[in-house]
């Protein structure tokens, strides 16, 4: 099984580029096995969405 560290690299890169077929498969396998990385994967995606909301004005904050 690939390491968690390598899995986090692929989780990050899938937000920036299209992963290859084998990369997708190995990430999927790892996520199936590892609940910590499943949380990390979901949280990277949340970060990605939240960060893009930083300059959206539909949900105003009060700074």
């Amino acid at each position: 099984m690939q390491s968690c560290k390598r899995a986090t690299e692929l989780m990050s890169q899938q937000l920036d580029r299209e992963l290859s077929g084998s990369e997708k498969l190995s990430l999927k396998m790892h996520l199936f096995m590892c609940r910590h990385c499943r949380k990390c994967d979901a949280q990277f995606k949340v970060l990605h969405r939240l960060a893009s909301a930083r300059s959206q004005v539909d949900k105003p904050d009060k700074d």
Binding site: K5, C37, S55
Partner: protein, 225 residues
């Protein structure tokens, strides 16, 4: 109007009001917004533009100048505003262009001090077999999608971004806050795409941990501020 004039005089500029012009017209002579409304809305969004620019540039004075430039450009170019997007989104777009220009300019002039090797250390998160150390394992986040609606969240977010090494924060914010593609970022900063991915990976790991400590593990209290 007096309040407005007071608050917009920054860095020697005066964000002028066109005398005797009650409404603004676009090329077809339509009047999507009254000038008072435009002024009020530009003024209202100014703190958010400033916070955004500060993250990008790291230099508060330069961030003020750039925001002021963007607001002047918005005011002068209001005729090009069609009302298709919200005014605030349109102004943010102007600021983003100015930020990218500034970052490119800095890189050309070699004044960025951009050092792609200055990256956050992530080995402390993993054991020698490269699996999560118990203390670093991601925890459950409390209502993550609601975070940006809550008071104080963006202060914690900015705190976490600004505590990354400067070069890392720059790449992260160009990618995630400004939505640029990695190819564009590499070109602007003169780094390889591979390097860009490494930097983003480390930035996300660090930011994830920082937001977890500062926000998500504690519900809506902001413990680090």
């Amino acid at each position: 109007m007096a309040d407005y004039a007071d608050t917009v005089q920054v860095s020697g500029y005066r964000f002028g009001v066109v005398e005797g012009e009650g409404t603004l017209t676009d090329k077809e002579g339509r009047t999507p917004l009254g000038s008072d409304e435009v002024q009020q809305r530009l003024q209202a969004i100014r703190p958010r533009l400033l916070a955004f620019a500060r993250i990008q540039l790291g230099d508060p004075v330069q961030a003020e100048d750039l925001v002021q430039d963007a607001m002047i450009a918005a005011w002068e170019g209001i005729g090009a505003f069609t009302g298709a997007a919200k005014l605030e989104t349109w102004v943010f777009g102007i600021l983003k262009h100015k930020l990218v220009d500034e970052i490119r300019h800095r890189h050309r002039e070699q004044t960025t001090g951009f050092n792609p090797d200055e990256m956050p250390e992530i080995d402390g998160l993993f054991n020698p077999r490269a699996h999560w150390l118990p203390a670093s394992r991601p925890q459950k986040w409390h209502e993550p999608e609601q975070a940006c609606l809550q008071d104080g969240f963006w202060q914690v977010f900015d705190f976490c971004v600004l505590h990354l090494p400067e070069s890392t924060a720059r790449v992260f914010s160009m990618r995630e806050l400004m939505g640029l593609e990695t190819a564009e970022i590499c070109e602007s900063l003169g780094i390889s795409e591979q390097n860009c991915w490494v930097i983003l990976h480390r930035a996300r790991l660090k930011l994830r941990a920082c937001l977890e400590n500062g926000w998500f593990s504690k519900g809506d209290s902001n413990a680090i501020l």
